[in-house]
């Protein structure tokens, strides 16, 4: 099934549940009407939270830059000796 259809069916199910709640009046109707808005706002907040948490925990590797410089030096030495042009850059 195409992915977009999966999302569409999910939305249809959620909408059906919402309409069901409206009909059944378990929760006062005034609240039920606002549920989609609550849902969208929660989704937005969750997204922002995920971005924030991910940003805080963003893996960095400063030591890798140093290791890379060492590797570059090693490579240049090796290649220069064997006739490969690794000239000044």
């Amino acid at each position: 099934m195409k992915h977009v259809l999966k999302i569409f069916s999910l939305l249809v199910v959620i909408s059906a549940l919402w309409i069901g709640l409206l009909q059944a009046s378990i929760i006062p109707q005034s609240h039920t009407w606002l549920l989609p808005i609550y849902f969208i706002v929660s989704l937005g907040c969750y997204g922002l939270l995920m971005v924030g948490v991910g940003l805080m925990r963003f893996p960095t590797c400063p030591q890798e830059a140093l290791l890379l410089q060492q590797d570059i030096g090693e490579a240049k030495d090796f290649l220069k000796q064997r006739g490969v042009d690794v000239g000044s850059e």
Partner: protein
């Protein structure tokens, strides 16, 4: 009877005169000692800086059966560079990686090991998992990367943590299959490849990699890039 695996490493280049020599050295350093059968396919798009001359020197040093130079007349795009490289690949596995040393060849053994352990069709490098990482990104860049990632995860459910990464190992037949149905350009192309592969049900594994951004201060993430990205997301959402 065990079939011997051969790995064709496709490296598209444009003005990478120095980096191509360094990357070839490092690939040999990390693979030769492990008894891995491999070849490096350099797809150069007519670099004016003499990249091809350096590759020829490397061929003299390492052998033409290990370094294949398959150039093209001018800049023709990444996707077609892979397709071009694939035509000349004699291995049963293909690795794609960048030539600018943001992808370090020292991770090649872990890609190979992961594939052998799991039998995966694709092993993709992730910068965002534990053990992985990025160096050289400022806060803004990290923010856009993280935001883009969360958006893509929410919309596409791709099953991989790093969608835009381009350091990957593919089973050759799988790469041929997936690449034939991809039409995007640039990094959206990388996303399209992995999302399509995921939809097709191919077994995909990840290994953490570190990414040292060597293009400091580049304007890689301008407004137009963001628009292109969003368009790419919608395209992928609707067509995969």
């Amino acid at each position: 009877m065990e079939q011997k695996n051969k790995y064709s490493i496709i490296v598209p280049t444009y003005n990478e005169r120095l980096n191509i020599a360094l990357i070839v050295y490092l690939i040999f350093k990390h693979l030769r000692s492990r008894d891995v059968d491999f070849e490096i396919i350099v797809v150069d798009d007519g670099s004016p800086d003499g990249t091809q001359e350096v590759v020829k020197q490397l061929q003299k040093l390492y052998g033409e059966d290990h370094i294949l130079l398959r150039p093209r007349p001018k800049k023709l795009g990444l996707g077609t560079a892979y397709i071009h490289g694939l035509k000349h690949a004699s291995g049963n596995f293909v690795v794609i990686m960048d030539a600018d040393l943001s992808h370090h060849p020292k991770y090649l053994p872990s890609f190979i090991k992961k594939q052998l352990e799991t039998g995966a069709s694709i092993v993709t490098g992730t910068r965002y998992s534990k053990g992985g990482g990025v160096h050289g990104w400022n806060l803004m860049r990290k923010l856009t990367s993280r935001g883009a990632n969360v958006l893509a995860q929410t919309l596409l459910w791709p099953g991989v943590s790093d969608l835009t990464g381009s350091f990957r190992l593919y089973r050759k037949s799988v790469l041929e299959d997936v690449i034939s149905s991809c039409v995007s350009k640039g990094y959206v192309f990388q996303m399209e490849m992995i999302v399509r592969a995921s939809r097709e049900g191919y077994h995909i594994e990840e290994v953490p990699i570190t990414f040292v951004d060597r293009v400091f201060g580049s304007s890689k993430l301008g407004g137009s890039e963001i628009v292109e990205y969003l368009k790419g997301l919608v395209y992928l959402l609707v067509t995969t």
